[in-house]
Symmetry: C2
C-alpha cells in the first residue's frame, strides 16, 4: 500500500505506538477488539474501511459497495461467534454524487445490516476524493463462547465453511475481462459483488465450544491459515484444497492454476477454523443444522510448517494474499 511501506510494516509501526489496555480480553491484531462488560459478556467491535479505488471493482453498484462495507465487518464478528447488533458508517463522498447515488449507499448499508439482523444506528458524512465507507460493527457475546484465533492445537482438524477461488476468478472476469460461460460467469461475478458473511455458521460454531481457533478468510485462505498458525504457534498440513467447481472450470479454460485461485485469493468470507478432532461430529452437525456445511481440509501440526500435501508431494503454502486487485497490499 503506502509506497515503500507494505501494509504489514505499517500495521507493525502503528501497533508499536499503542499502549495496551490492562487485561484486554482480545489481543491487538486479532480480527476484532473487545471490552469486558464484567458480567460474563464481552462488548465486541470491529472497523474496516472500504475504499472505492481498491475495493470496488468495475460492475459493482454503489448499493453493492455499501452492502459489502457492512459484510466485511459482519464477517469478522461472525468468525468470533458474535451477532452484530449495530453498524455505524462514516462516509467520505466524492463530489458529483447524485441523490440517487446517496440513496443507493444508504440502502446498501441498511440492507447489509438487516441481512444479518443488525441495524445502522449512526454515522458521519464528509467530502473526500475517494469513495470511502468506513463501517464499525458492534455486538455482545458471552465470554465463554467467544472464538479466538490462537487456540489451535496439534491434531486439531482444519475446516472451512465453503469452497474457495470464486472471488479470485470473478475478479479476473471483472477486471481483466476473461470470458466464462454464462452460468459460471454469474456464479463467479456474484461471489465478488454479493459476498455473504457466515454469521449463522459462526454463531453455531461458537455454541459447540469445540472450535479452538477461528478467523474469516477475507485476506485469502493461505493468509488465514498463516494467521491462525502465527497466533497458535503451530503449523498446518492441508490435504484437500477446497476449490469451488466453477473456479476449477474457469482455471482450466484459461490455463490458470486453480490452487493459486483458492489459496491466494481474498475478499472471500468463509470461516477457517480448527476443531478438536474428537468433537468433529458435533461441530459438523451444528453447522448442518443452520443450513451450512463444513469441509475438513487438513490437520494442525506441532511443527510450524505450512504444507499442502497433494498428489505431487508436499508444497509449502506461502504467506501471501490476493495481489492483483490491491497491488500493494501485504
Amino acid at each position: 500500500m503506502v509506497e515503500g511501506l507494505g501494509e504489514r510494516r505499517i500495521i507493525e509501526i502503528l501497533l508499536r505506538q499503542l499502549e495496551v489496555m490492562p487485561g484486554v480480553p482480545v489481543p491487538l491484531g486479532d480480527d476484532v477488539s473487545a471490552i469486558d462488560l464484567n458480567d460474563g459478556r464481552l462488548a465486541v467491535m470491529k472497523t474496516d474501511m472500504l475504499v472505492g479505488r481498491t475495493d470496488v471493482p468495475p460492475g459493482m453498484s454503489l448499493w453493492q459497495a455499501a452492502r459489502k462495507a457492512v459484510i466485511m465487518n459482519v464477517s469478522d464478528l461472525a468468525a468470533k461467534g458474535v451477532r452484530p447488533a449495530a453498524i455505524l458508517a462514516s462516509l467520505g463522498l466524492p463530489r458529483g454524487l447524485t441523490e440517487g447515488d446517496v440513496e443507493q449507499i444508504g440502502r446498501g448499508l441498511n440492507d447489509g445490516a438487516r441481512e444479518y439482523g443488525a441495524y445502522v444506528l449512526g454515522g458521519d458524512t464528509n467530502e473526500a476524493s475517494d469513495l470511502v465507507i468506513s463501517c464499525a460493527a458492534f455486538g455482545t457475546c458471552e465470554k465463554r463462547f467467544f472464538m479466538r484465533r490462537s487456540g489451535a492445537k496439534p491434531g486439531d482438524l482444519v475446516a472451512v465453511t465453503g469452497p474457495f477461488g470464486k472471488t479470485a476468478a470473478g475478479l479476473k472476469v471483472l477486471l481483466e475481462g476473461l470470458p466464462a460461460s454464462p452460468k459460471v460467469r454469474e456464479t463467479l461475478v456474484n461471489a465478488v459483488l454479493m459476498p455473504r458473511a457466515r454469521l449463522q455458521e459462526g454463531l453455531a460454531l461458537a455454541q459447540t465450544r469445540a472450535v479452538t481457533a477461528s478467523i474469516d478468510s477475507s485476506d485469502g485462505l493461505a493468509w488465514s491459515l498463516h494467521e491462525i498458525s502465527r497466533a497458535s504457534r503451530g503449523g498446518f498440513t492441508i490435504e484437500k484444497l477446497p476449490i469451488a467447481q466453477e473456479a476449477e472450470e474457469f482455471a482450466e479454460a484459461h490455463g490458470l492454476d486453480p490452487a493459486e485461485l483458492a489459496l491466494y485469493g481474498g475478499e472471500e468470507y468463509e470461516l477457517v477454523i480448527t476443531v478438536k478432532a474428537e468433537l468433529w461430529k458435533r461441530v459438523e452437525e451444528a453447522v448442518k443444522k443452520v443450513g451450512g456445511s463444513l469441509t475438513k481440509i487438513g490437520l494442525a501440526t506441532r511443527e510450524p510448517a505450512m504444507l499442502f500435501k497433494g498428489k505431487e508431494g508436499a508444497v509449502p503454502i506461502e504467506a501471501r494474499g490476493w495481489e492483483h486487485f490491491k497491488p500493494h497490499s501485504k
Copy 2:
C-alpha cells in the same frame, strides 16, 4: 459538501433509507448511538471521520491530526456523559507517507485516547488519495445518567463549558495568515491544533441529573443551540455571548464581528447544555469540582425562536456553522 447536495440533505436522504431498531435507546441523528445492554447500562458508540483535505489546516502535524480524530469522537461521548473505553481507527493513507509519518499517526491516536483514559484497541489500514482517519469511540454508561439533546424545557438555563471564537479566529490565522500578537496567536492557533474534549465536565454534569439537554459544539455554538432546539421543540433567548477574550481582541484588530466568530465558528469542543433553573447551583458546583467552569448564557423558551438579546435589541441566531474551512458543509 457533495456538489449540489448539502450535508444536511445528504444526511436526510441517508436516514430515510434506514430501518429503525425497535426500542432504540437514542434516536438516529443524535450525537451518539446506543444499544441497551439490558442491565441498566447502555453501550454507547460514535464514529466521526477526519479528512485531511477539509479537517487538517496548514500547520497541523500528523500527530495532531490523529489526536484530533480521537478528540472529535471523545467529545461526543463527553456530551452524553459517557466515559470512552475503546477507540478503533480506520485509516486511509496516501502514498508517500514515511515511517515517521505513520509513527506520528499511531502516537497521535494513542495519545488522544490515553488523554481521556481510553485505549486504541484496533483498526484497519488502506491506501487512499486523501488522508482519512475514521475513529469509532465506544463506552458504557448507566442509562439513568445518559444526557440527551431533547429534554430542554421552557425556563431551563442554557450554559456552556467555556468561551467561543478562538478556533474560528485561529483558522483565520492559519488559513488566511491574519496576524496577531504572539500571545494571542498562540492561544488561537492552539485552539485549532490542540482541541480538548470536555470529558470531566460531561461526566460530572451527567452525575447531577439536572441537565435536561446536552450537545458538543463541534459544529458551532449557533448550530448546537439549533440542534437542541430542534430536538427539544423550543427556542432560546441568549443574553450573553460567551466570547473568548483573545477572539474579541483579534476581531477588533481586524475589523471582524466577534459575535460572528463565537456563534458561527465550529471545531470547538465545548459542551452546550440546558439545566433546570432551580438546580443551577448544584450543577455549577459539580463542574467546578472537576476543575471546569460553567457560564450561563441564556434561557430556554416555549416559542421556537432563537434570539440573541444584546444591547442593540434582539437579533436572530441563524442555523449555520463555520463555512470557510469546510466551504460546502451545511
